[in-house]
C-alpha cells in the first residue's frame, strides 16, 4: 500500500507541476513555455487514450497515429471550409467551433476505431501490432497523396477555432482549455479502471480463457475499450491541429504511433499519470537538446534504451515502486 500512496502523491505532483510551470511562465512573461505546456497536455491526452487500449487492455496498437491524424484533419478540414465559406460535402458547412469539431473528431475516430478494432482484434500479439500499423499506414498514404486537402503540404488553419468564453489566441487560455480536457480524460481513465468494465478488461488481459469462462465476452469488452481509446486520441489530434494551426500527414506517420508508445512506456504502462510525465519528458528533451545539439536524437535513443532496460515500469515505477500497475 506504501507504493499506492506514493504513486498517488506522485500523480498529484505531476499534475500540479504541469499547471505550475506555465503559471510561472505567465508571470515571467514567457509565452513559449505556456504553449510548450499546452503541447505536453495535448500529447498526454493522446497517450491517455492509447493507455486505455495498451495499459488496461494489453492491446499494443502501433497505429494510434491514425486517430490522432483523423482528429487533426477534422479540425483542419472543418476550419478550412468555415474560412472559405464552402460546404464540406452534401451541403454541410464547415465550422470554427471547437466543441462541434471535437464532437465530429471523436465520432469519426471512434467509428474508424470500431472498424479497425473489429478487424484487428481477430489477431493477437505481433499480428495485432502489425495490422494496426497497416491501417495507420493506409491513412498516412491516403492523406499524403490525396490532393484535395494539401497532400504532403498539409492544411494550415489560418485562424484558431473558437471555444465559448475562451480567447484561444491567448496561450494561457488555450492552455487552461487543454489542461481541463486532460483532467477530464484522466478522471475518465481512473473511473474506467475502477469500474466493472475496467476489471473485466484487465481480467481479459491477464487470462482471456478464464474471463470467457465467467461470462465476459473478450471481443466486445476489448472492442469497446479500443473505440474509447481511439476517440480520446482523436480528440487530442483535433486539439493539436489547433495548437499548431496546422495539420499534415506527418500526424499519421508510424513514428507518431511510436512516439505515443514511447510516452506511455517512459511514464509507466497502465499508470494513471504516465502519459503526462512521459509527454513532459519527451517534449522537454526535444526542446532542450534540440537547441543544444543536432545529434539530440542519439541522446534520446540512449535515454529510451536506458528506461526500457533498467527502469521497468517507467519513471513512475522507478519512483513509486513496481506495484500499482492495475
Amino acid at each position: 500500500m506504501v507504493e499506492a500512496r506514493r504513486e498517488f502523491i506522485l500523480n498529484a505532483v505531476i499534475v500540479l507541476a504541469l499547471f505550475a510551470v506555465p503559471l510561472w511562465a505567465l508571470m515571467a512573461g514567457e509565452p513559449f513555455i505556456i504553449s510548450l505546456a499546452t503541447r505536453v497536455a495535448i500529447l498526454a491526452l493522446a497517450a491517455v487514450g492509447l493507455n486505455i487500449a495498451l495499459g488496461l487492455g494489453g492491446m499494443v496498437s502501433f497505429g494510434h497515429a491514425l486517430y490522432f491524424g483523423i482528429g487533426g484533419y477534422c479540425a483542419g478540414i472543418l476550419a478550412h471550409h468555415a474560412f472559405s465559406g464552402t460546404p464540406v460535402a452534401f451541403g454541410l458547412s464547415g465550422t470554427n467551433q471547437m466543441l462541434v469539431i471535437w464532437a465530429v473528431a471523436m465520432a469519426l475516430s471512434g467509428l474508424v476505431a470500431a472498424v479497425v478494432g473489429a478487424l484487428s482484434l481477430r489477431t493477437s500479439g505481433i499480428f495485432f501490432i502489425m495490422i494496426t500499423l497497416a491501417f495507420a499506414q493506409m491513412g498516412f498514404f491516403f492523406t499524403l497523396s490525396w490532393p484535395a486537402y494539401g497532400g504532403e503540404d498539409g492544411l494550415p488553419i489560418f485562424v484558431r477555432n473558437q471555444f465559448p468564453g475562451v480567447n484561444t489566441m491567448r496561450p494561457w487560455e488555450l492552455f487552461l482549455l487543454a489542461f481541463g480536457v486532460l483532467l477530464v480524460a484522466l478522471v475518465v481513465f481512473a473511473m474506467l479502471r475502477a469500474s466493472r468494465f475496467g476489471a473485466a478488461l484487465m481480467a481479459i488481459r491477464q487470462n482471456p480463457d478464464r474471463a470467457a469462462a465467467v461470462g465476459i465476452s473478450p471481443f466486445g469488452v476489448k472492442l469497446t475499450a479500443f473505440v474509447i481509446s481511439g476517440m480520446l486520441t482523436g480528440l487530442a489530434g483535433a486539439m493539436m491541429a489547433d495548437l499548431s494551426r496546422f495539420t499534415s500527414p506527418a500526424m499519421m506517420a508510424w513514428t507518431m504511433s511510436g512516439e505515443l508508445i514511447v510516452i506511455i512506456i517512459l511514464g509507466g504502462v497502465g499508470r494513471l499519470c504516465a502519459p503526462v510525465l512521459g509527454a513532459a519528458i519527451l517534449v522537454g528533451f526535444e526542446t532542450l537538446f534540440g537547441g543544444w545539439t543536432e545529434h539530440w536524437q542519439l541522446w534520446l535513443g540512449l535515454v529510451l534504451l536506458g528506461v526500457v532496460l533498467f527502469a521497468r515500469g517507467g519513471v513512475i515505477g522507478l519512483i513509486a515502486g513496481r506495484e500499482g500497475h492495475g
Binding site: 495498451l54 499494443v60 502501433f62 478487424l119 484487428s120 481477430r122 489477431t123 493477437s124 500479439g125 505481433i126 499480428f127 501490432i129 502489425m130 495490422i131 500499423l133 497497416a134 491501417f135 499506414q137 493506409m138 498514404f141 491516403f142 499524403l144 497523396s145 490525396w146 490532393p147 508510424w254 511510436g258 508508445i261 514511447v262 512506456i265 504502462v269 545529434h295 536524437q297 542519439l298 534520446l300 535513443g301 540512449l302 535515454v303 529510451l304 534504451l305 526500457v308 532496460l309 521497468r312
Partner: protein, 305 residues
C-alpha cells in the same frame, strides 16, 4: 500496353520481391527462434549499404565492398545482440518495440556522425553494367543478377536450415526452446549467431540495393515497414512464408503502380486518374496485408501450427 511491358514489370516485381526476401528472412528468423520484434533491422540494412559504399570507394572494388558490408552488418548485429537484444528476450513485445525503436535513433545518428549527412556513392560493378536481350525485352543485367542472387541465397538458407547442425538447432529453437537447452546447446551462442545471420542478410540486401539506390541515412525504415508487411503476410517465423509474402508484395506493389493509374484512366480524366491511381497504389500492399490477416489471422503459413 504490350505483352513485353507486362512481362518486364512482372520481372521487376519478382526482383523487388527477392530483395524484400533478404530483408524479411532475417527478421522472420529472429522472431521465429527468439520471439523478438526487431525494428532496428532496417538500421542493419543501412549499415550494410554504408560500409559497402565506403569500402568500395576505398578499394575501388564493389565485391570487396559487399563483403565488408555483410561483415559490418553481422558484426553490428552481434554487438547489438550481446549488449542490448539479449536482455529483451524475456520481455513482452512492447518493451521490444520501444528498445529497438531507440536503437533506430541511435544507429541513424551514429551512422550520420561517422559518414556525414550527404548520400554516399556506390555503383554497380563493371561486369554487371548494361542490359541483356531477353528476346521480348531488354533488361538490366544488374537486376537480373539480383534475381539470381536472391534465389541463390534462398536456396543457401534452405540448405543451411535443412541440412546443417546449426539448422537443426535453429529448428529446435523454433519449436521448443526448453528442449534445445536440454540437448546441451549453448543457447546464448545460438541466439547471437542467429541474430548476426539475420543482420548479415539485411546488410547484404542493403549493399546490393545500395548500388542502384541512394545510400543515405533513413534508407532502412521504408524497407523495414515493407519487410514487416511481408513476414506478417507470410506468417511470422516461416522462411517459406517470407518468400511467398515477399514475392506477393513485390509483384503486387509493382503491378499496382503500373496498372492502377491506367485502369482509372479508362473512366476518368487522365491527370486526375494519375493522382487517384498513384494514391491507391501506395495503399495497396497495406490493404493486402489487412485482408490476409482478416482471413488468416496468423498469416499464410503459420509457423507454430
Amino acid at each position: 500496353m504490350s505483352l513485353a511491358l507486362v512481362l518486364e514489370q512482372l520481372l521487376n516485381g519478382v526482383q523487388f520481391g527477392l530483395m524484400l526476401f533478404l530483408m524479411s528472412a532475417g527478421l522472420t528468423l529472429v522472431f521465429g527462434v527468439m520471439g523478438l520484434i526487431n525494428l532496428a533491422h532496417g538500421s542493419l540494412y543501412m549499415i550494410g549499404a554504408f560500409c559497402c559504399a565506403a569500402f568500395a570507394a576505398m578499394t575501388g572494388n564493389f565485391w570487396l565492398g559487399l563483403v565488408a558490408g555483410i561483415a559490418a552488418a553481422a558484426a553490428a548485429g552481434a554487438i547489438i545482440e550481446v549488449t542490448v537484444i539479449r536482455r529483451l528476450y524475456a520481455r513482452d513485445h512492447l518493451d521490444q518495440v520501444l528498445a529497438t525503436f531507440a536503437l533506430i535513433l541511435i544507429l541513424s545518428e551514429g551512422v550520420r556522425l561517422i559518414f556525414g549527412p550527404f548520400p554516399l556513392y556506390l555503383n554497380v560493378p563493371d561486369v554487371l553494367r548494361g542490359t541483356v536481350d531477353l528476346g521480348v525485352t531488354r533488361y538490366s543485367l544488374y537486376r537480373l543478377a539480383l534475381i539470381g542472387f536472391g534465389i541463390a541465397v534462398a536456396v543457401g538458407l534452405w540448405l543451411l536450415i535443412a541440412k546443417t547442425r546449426l539448422g537443426i538447432q535453429i529448428r529446435a529453437g523454433e519449436s521448443d526452446r526448453e528442449m534445445i537447452a536440454a540437448l546441451g546447446v549453448n543457447i546464448r551462442w545460438l541466439y547471437t549467431v542467429v541474430f548476426a545471420l539475420g543482420a548479415a542478410l539485411a546488410g547484404m540486401a542493403g549493399a546490393l540495393v545500395g548500388a542502384i539506390q541512394s545510400v543515405q541515412v533513413g534508407m532502412g525504415e521504408p524497407v523495414l515497414i515493407l519487410a514487416f508487411v511481408v513476414i506478417v503476410i507470410g506468417g511470422i517465423g516461416s522462411i517459406k512464408g517470407a518468400m511467398v509474402g515477399a514475392l506477393l508484395v513485390g509483384v503486387i506493389d509493382t503491378m499496382g503502380r503500373f496498372l492502377l493509374p491506367r485502369a482509372f484512366a479508362t473512366f476518368m480524366e487522365p491527370s486526375q486518374a494519375m493522382g487517384v491511381g498513384a494514391a491507391l497504389a501506395s495503399m495497396l500492399i497495406y490493404l493486402l496485408m489487412a485482408l490476409v490477416l482478416i482471413l488468416r489471422p496468423k498469416g499464410l503459413f503459420p509457423a507454430h501450427g
